[in-house]
């Protein structure tokens, strides 16, 4: 009998609808209005790569040891260097990083002995061309410049 009444009065369906109604309150809004409202990115986020430079002198921190290139499973980093005759140190000449193939695993970052290579919180890596996804040293030092939309 109870079961019949429950069926007739659609109790099970109303119960579900009530849950939906409960969640209608504006304080339950969860979506982000993305380009206008920037998401909060965690500190450890592994996003766009950056080649750090010395904050004062502006020189690169990279010692061209090639460890990041060796650590990368995708082999997408190419580091070239030149030996400076005066200081007898290796100096970085070019640094190419193919973001289109990177899986942001963080192994290169872990391998770097001087914390020169870092994966940052920038996540907007889209590009109109394939070549645009291949970053050279300048790009890596300056960071990407995604379009910021204003509303």
């Amino acid at each position: 009998m109870r079961k019949l009444l429950k069926t007739v009065f659609l109790v099970d369906l109303i119960q579900g609808l009530w849950v939906t109604l409960r969640n209608q309150h504006p304080k339950h809004i969860y979506t982000e209005q993305y380009p206008a409202q920037r998401p909060k990115i965690a500190e450890r986020y592994r996003g766009a790569p950056r080649l750090n430079i010395h904050p004062v002198s502006g020189e690169t921190l990279c010692i061209a040891c090639n460890l990041c290139a060796l650590a990368c499973p995708e082999n997408l980093i190419v580091v070239t260097s030149e030996r400076n005759e005066q200081t007898r140190r290796k100096e970085l000449t070019t640094f190419i990083y193919d973001t289109s193939r990177c899986m942001f695993c963080g192994l290169c970052e872990d391998a770097c002995p001087v914390d020169a290579l870092e994966l940052t919180q920038d996540f907007e890596l889209a590009s109109y061309t394939r070549d645009g996804a291949i970053w050279d040293r300048q790009m890596l030092e300056e960071g990407p410049k995604p379009t910021r939309y204003r509303y």
Binding site: T20, Y45, A71, P73, F104
Partner: protein, 370 residues
């Protein structure tokens, strides 16, 4: 196996997929129909094959770790755990206690996330759209924890062979606890939405029955096996990563139909919350990385290690020849083997049931095809 060439006048061959919203990826199912009734099914898979096992043979042990995340991308943390355990087994070491507890926390959270996504998409297949939105909201909280812990949300690469790379961040315990507290009422809410709903019950009860014996025959594991009344969970049967320390139950049901699998997964989420709550209570201090050195080079040998992934038994069989790269790396994917039982489950069912059955196995094509 159905003979797909054989057609009599009443039979119709229908291709479901590879691009079909209810196949959860690029799965093609060839259905042999007699009116609405299924006479036979055949799965065509491999559209997402990337040769993970071959990649594994050409990468060092550490380098391969990020690739396993891309198999079952919904439960990347579990994949990583299984792989790390297998390599540690070959090295004959174990992760330090602190690392193990953190691993358990993240893996259980991942189990919840995986089940949540399953619930959302499965309900969507059946026609209940609402749960998907709620489910995504809770899953977001879990992904935020992953993001804060290891810097990635989906393909996490959270663990390393021998332990962890990242220390627990400040406030991780609180965040996990807050999530657990808020999450349990949410599960009740999902149940309110679905468990008693007449459409839900009509669509699921007595659909796609697989009995316990059939499960064993077909090697089906995970919630599908437990819904058929077999109380078996690797976390209890062959505990790893310190699971024996936690107090939790293995939910089982008797009928082995689609509805039971739904109930088992819902219960499992609650149990996972219990484990997380116990684990965050005391994370032991100490190192997070065992002494494995910069270069992982296991001695010659082989080992098969499996864990209870959200979808079933996920196993890694690694043969080492003493070099830095695996000589052979085999993955035993749970979805692949569970999907094989589709043929058995959908025999005699209706076309609409196939959608429910595919949904209930909880497949991820990235893992099936590897």
């Amino acid at each position: 196996m159905p003979e797909t060439t054989f057609l009599d006048a009443n039979e119709l061959v229908l291709n479901m997929g590879p691009q079909h919203p209810s196949t959860h990826g690029v799965l093609r199912v060839i259905l042999k129909l007699d009116g609405e009734k299924i006479r036979g099914t055949e799965c065509v898979i491999g559209y997402l094959h990337r040769g993970v096992e071959k990649i594994g043979e050409n990468r060092t042990y550490q380098m391969f770790a990020p690739y396993v995340d891309r198999m079952d991308y919904v439960a990347a943390v579990s994949n990583g755990l299984g792989y790390c355990l297998a390599v540690e087994k070959l090295l004959n070491t174990e992760a330090p206690p602190r690392a193990q507890v953190v691993r358990v926390i993240l893996t259980e959270l991942n189990r919840i996330a995986s089940h949540l996504l399953w619930l959302g998409t499965h309900a969507l297949d059946i026609g209940a759209i609402t749960p998907l939105f709620y489910v995504m909201r809770e899953r977001e909280e879990i992904l935020n924890i992953f993001e804060a812990y290891c810097g990635a949300r989906l393909t996490t690469h959270a663990f390393r062979c021998g332990g962890l790379q990242y220390e627990v961040y400040d406030g991780m315990e609180q965040q996990a606890k807050r999530f657990c507290k808020a999450f349990l009422p949410r599960v009740d809410e999902y149940e309110e939405l679905l468990s008693e709903n007449r459409i839900w019950k009509e669509r699921l009860i007595n659909v796609g029955i697989l009995t316990g014996d059939e499960c064993k025959q077909y090697g089906v594991t995970g919630p599908v096996l437990r819904a058929a009344g077999v109380k078996w969970d690797i976390r209890k049967a062959l505990p790893y990563s310190g699971y024996e320390k936690y107090d939790f139950e293995i939910p089982t049901r008797q009928n082995g139909d689609t509805y039971d699998r739904y109930m088992v997964r819902i219960q499992e989420m609650r149990q996972s919350v219990r484990i997380v709550e116990q684990a965050v209570e005391d994370i032991p201090s100490g190192p997070i990385m065992a002494k494995v050195g910069k270069i992982v080079k296991p001695p010659v040998g082989e080992a098969y290690v499996s864990i209870e992934a959200p979808k079933g038994e996920l196993g890694y069989f690694i043969v080492s020849d003493g070099s830095t790269q695996p000589y052979r790396l085999r993955v035993r994917p749970p979805s692949f083997i569970n999907l094989q039982a589709l043929e058995r489950m959908s025999r005699g069912a209706l076309v609409a049931d196939v959608v429910a059955i595919i949904g209930t196995i909880d497949i991820v094509l990235g893992e099936i095809d590897r």
